[in-house]
Symmetry: C2
Subunit: 270 residues, 2 copies
């Protein structure tokens, strides 16, 4: 008898089909408005590199382009090791369903070295997560049930219309049930923020990420220090128009370490 995997690991499961091909599948627990939660797709692609026998180093940069809607079904992840340098390694990836490419991605791994270090940015001010209310996600896409979210500002509205002059959301969150954070979970975490246009206009409307880039600042030791604790995320947009908006996000540990920064461009209708 074995324990059932954590829902995160169930969602990001990959089965090797060939040296550079892995089979994954969407599961209902990570469903979004259309297809799976993009953060889970991102984590699954990253995992294909992390489990690869030729892997050298830990994630430094990841870009994913959402090319076409992913059907709720099996998919293949095809990885290609482009080059291994002394301190970094470049990969490209594709997510395919049948003959169709649904996502493309690039991943840079790196061997971190001791250098001068300083974090110039500051985390947003926030009370401890224990002092904030658990955000019930009833009526929102089902994947949100996998996160325990405690909003500081910019909570999504679940009914009515509540426009805001600011697109900023700041929120403590962690997987539920509790699970230690690793690079795959960190990659998914960068996409937890609801579309900024929902926050500005105070209502839901059709929107979806087109391209997302994440920079991983945390070392494996930094992630071990976080364990299964809450992380503090903050996200905002700079501009909306022409059918798109941008989003920039930072994820901080409770101890004040900048774990990741992430950027995306999102389409919307309205």
């Amino acid at each position: 008898m074995t324990d059932a995997p954590h829902p995160f690991d169930a969602g990001a499961t990959l089965e090797p089909l060939a040296p550079n091909v892995f089979r994954g599948r969407t599961i209902p627990e990570w469903g979004n408005m259309v297809g799976p939660f993009g953060g889970m797709t991102t984590a699954t692609l990253l995992r294909a590199v992390l489990v690869h026998p030729e892997r050298q180093g830990d994630p430094l940069a990841l870009t994913i382009n959402f090319v076409a809607p992913i059907a709720d079904s099996e998919f293949d992840v095809v990885v290609r090791l482009v080059r291994t340098n002394r301190t970094n390694q470049h990969w490209t990836l594709e997510l395919q369903q049948g003959a169709e490419v649904k996502a493309t991605a690039s991943v840079v791994l790196s061997l971190r070295r001791e250098t001068w270090s300083e974090t110039e940015a500051s985390p947003p001010s926030a009370p401890a997560p224990e002092e904030l209310e658990y955000a019930d996600a009833t009526g929102l896409p089902v994947w949100l049930d996998n996160y325990d979210q405690r909003f500081v500002v910019g909570r999504p509205e679940q009914s009515g219309e509540h426009p805001s002059a600011s697109s900023t959301t700041t929120v403590w969150f962690r997987l539920t049930p509790a699970r230690s954070i690793d690079y795959a979970a960190l990659a998914a975490s960068c996409d937890v923020f609801i579309p900024r246009v929902f926050v500005r206009l105070g209502r839901m409307l059709p929107a979806g990420t087109i391209s997302m880039t994440t920079y991983f600042h945390a070392s494996a030791e930094d992630l071990a220090d976080v364990g299964a604790d809450f992380v503090l995320g903050t996200a905002r947009a700079a501009t909306f128009g022409g059918g798109h908006f941008d989003q920039s996000a930072q994820l901080w540990s409770r101890g004040g370490a900048l774990l990741a920064s992430s950027h995306q461009i999102v389409y919307f209708k309205g």
Copy 2:
């Protein structure tokens, strides 16, 4: 008799070799510390998509990964149209020298639509470029001679050691001789900022971009409005350590339009 091309166009010249293969070459005018200025490489890759007969739309997102040093020589750009949707189009690209991949990239084009629009971010405060001193680039990499730069804050030091508590550079700049800005020139412009670690530590040290992502907010009409005028760039880092730092930049028109936002992860020694 024909006029010589502008140095920018001379640097980004591509000759079609096959339906999805273009030949380019580095030229000394765009030389950096090692190989060519990364902004010129980025612009050249973007141009391969922009001149492609199957192009649909204008640039929305571009990611380039600098996989290995580009030798001062000819190179081939191999493009692949991954998918054309109703309002966007996905491309992947490679820059090759012989059998070696030197850069990979992805480009998303989009047909912009009328939607709700608002720019939430604000340009940095700055005097008019005409009130600021032209920054002589003597002693700096030769590609900088192609830009007329007027620094507001965070000017690179050319001698001595002048650490700063802030990594921010804000600078007005334009190509010299004057040339109207287009998407290729805008893509290059996002990489004009010297490495943020030079600004913080107040001295030059080995550093190079590993991966850069740019989001194009300007429509073609917005760029026509800018013409050959100065643009206001501002760039800063959030964190330094482990051999890397990040950079986030925004480019603004004199009229207050956010033309592009751009992010990169950079390696450094020291």
